[in-house]
Symmetry: C2
């Protein structure tokens, strides 16, 4: 049961590129910059982050064998740094989540393959601002 604060959601909007980390089942980490991600906060209990698979290779392979992901939110414009841990709960190219998000993206950034939407449930939030409290769990 993790809900992001309004400040966290504001900070996500300020960051153009988010580092998305996954790992293979055998523990080889992978990290890539993602440009298309949206917070979905319609659920009462949990917040979700929806990311678009346009050119994922190791990332999507990892997600299929190990649902755990980590993403941090930081740029020179944000208030500090926080890291979200989450679990992939759906990888889909059908349904409302897919059609609504691809509809918005097709208008803003035409020409992308828009293969799938990956729905990630946010399970924990950690501080990653440099300092003694770096790494501490905050939600």
């Amino acid at each position: 049961m993790v809900k992001l604060t309004p400040e966290m959601k504001e900070n996500i909007k300020k960051v153009r590129v988010l580092p998305l980390a996954t790992a293979s089942k055998s523990g080889i980490p992978n990290v890539i910059p993602i440009g298309i991600a949206e917070i979905n906060d319609k659920d009462e209990k949990d917040d979700y982050i929806h990311v678009m698979n346009n050119f994922f290779l190791k990332t999507i392979a990892n997600m299929k064998e190990n649902p755990h992901v980590a993403i941090y939110v930081w740029s020179p414009e944000t208030t500090g740094c926080f890291q979200m841990k989450g679990e992939v709960v759906e990888i889909t190219d059908k349904g409302n989540v897919y059609s609504e998000m691809t509809g918005r993206v097709a208008t803003m950034k035409p020409g992308l393959p828009m293969k799938q939407i990956v729905r990630i449930k946010i399970t924990e939030v950690f501080n990653c601002t440099s300092g003694k409290e770096a790494g501490q769990k905050i939600a």
Copy 2:
């Protein structure tokens, strides 16, 4: 046997903050922004990246149980994006590597705890520029 190209090394210098991904032995990924990293290319066969542990928590725990790491190099100023995979070969608070790097950092950024230097051998390089070749191995 991986050596970075001069262009890759130039791009690393342009990026102020690098996303460093690790994973626990059980495959939980972690990713944090690191501000203090140096390429060491003195070895004939392999290049190394030295990162400073100031406030690592999950990162250093992961490195101790699973040596695999991933780092990407991208900013609006770089030519494209590349990702390095590597292996932690040493975590030290003694010796030349430690004293030389902490000496440089103490002058530029005084007051940091400078707990350890983590020496990472770069084992593979991948493309992470958005497009059809994203994820391909390049070295």
